[in-house]
């Protein structure tokens, strides 16, 4: 798994140290509603951390990609060169999970909101569920855990449930995609 939570501009080689492809790719970056790129943060500076160009030659076939960037899954009026989500799919990633609007998360553990939902999704994928079932179960797990922690869902937790979407064949599994 590769985890991209960056403050500086990156050149990312999406292959493992022994040449094998990564199967799970996780991003925790910023995005604007209309920007093609994703951004890191260093104080009050927001450098470009990842762009569609970073994967133009990458082998991400069958990868499962989760992004916690705001608008990470916003594809309204976007093409493959101005939405990283679409670029991953064009490069034959099997599944992309991201948010259509502002995504929230805690600064420190425990995981809540986007962090918790993505964690639950990866756990369900690892159990061998189809993408569709894993995504549905992850949302149920998220709701149960959030309710247990606070006795209900607050505004950002409810928004997280609604705004996170999945682009994939829901009947596929990671190893079959």
């Amino acid at each position: 798994m590769v985890n991209v939570s960056a403050s500086r501009k990156l050149t990312i080689d999406l292959r493992g140290p022994t040449g094998q492809d990564f199967d799970l790719i996780y991003f925790n970056l910023h995005r604007g509603e209309d920007s093609a790129n994703w951004y890191g943060q260093e104080g009050s500076s927001y450098p470009v951390a990842f762009s569609p160009d970073n994967i133009k030659d990458a082998d991400v076939k069958n990868a499962v990609v989760c992004s916690e960037a705001c608008y990470g899954a916003n594809i309204v009026d976007k093409g493959v060169d101005d939405a990283i989500s679409l670029k991953f799919l064009a490069r034959n990633a099997a599944c992309f999970v991201g948010s259509t609007k502002i995504a929230y998360g805690p600064a420190d553990p425990p995981s809540t909101e986007a962090d918790l939902l993505v964690l639950k999704f990866f756990m369900r994928i690892k159990e061998g569920m189809t993408f569709g079932e894993a995504f549905m179960k992850a949302k149920q797990d998220f709701a149960r855990e959030s309710i247990a922690a606070r006795g209900g869902l607050d505004g950002t937790e409810e928004k997280t449930l609604i705004e996170f979407v999945m682009f994939a064949d829901p009947s596929s599994k990671m190893e079959e995609a």
Binding site: S35, Y39, C70
Partner: protein, 93 residues
């Protein structure tokens, strides 16, 4: 007696200054929330939850910043406080 909005802002100011200094000069919006979800969402999730009577106040600090390539990106911090002004949850993007 419930805390006023100004009292809440004063109580949260230190947290914002320390943890989200880029938002320290922003004026928060303050809303009241209760922990509940709509019936329809509960049905979709296959969950049943009791109606909550617990109310909290949420202070939301938001601004748009300019990234190095000129793109506008939102920066948000939300601080949830209970009726006594204790911070019970913080989240941001």
């Amino acid at each position: 007696m419930p805390l006023t909005d100004n009292e809440l802002k004063k109580m949260v100011k230190g947290y914002i200054k320390e943890n989200s200094p880029e938002l320290a000069d922003e004026e928060p919006t303050i809303s009241e929330e209760s922990y509940e979800i709509a019936e329809g969402v509960q049905r979709k999730l296959g969950l049943r939850m009791p109606k909550s009577t617990r109310k909290v106040k949420v202070l939301t600090y938001k601004k748009m910043v300019t990234a190095e390539d000129g793109a506008k990106i939102p920066i948000v911090a939300r601080v949830t406080v209970d009726e006594n002004g204790n911070i019970v949850k913080t989240t941001g993007n």
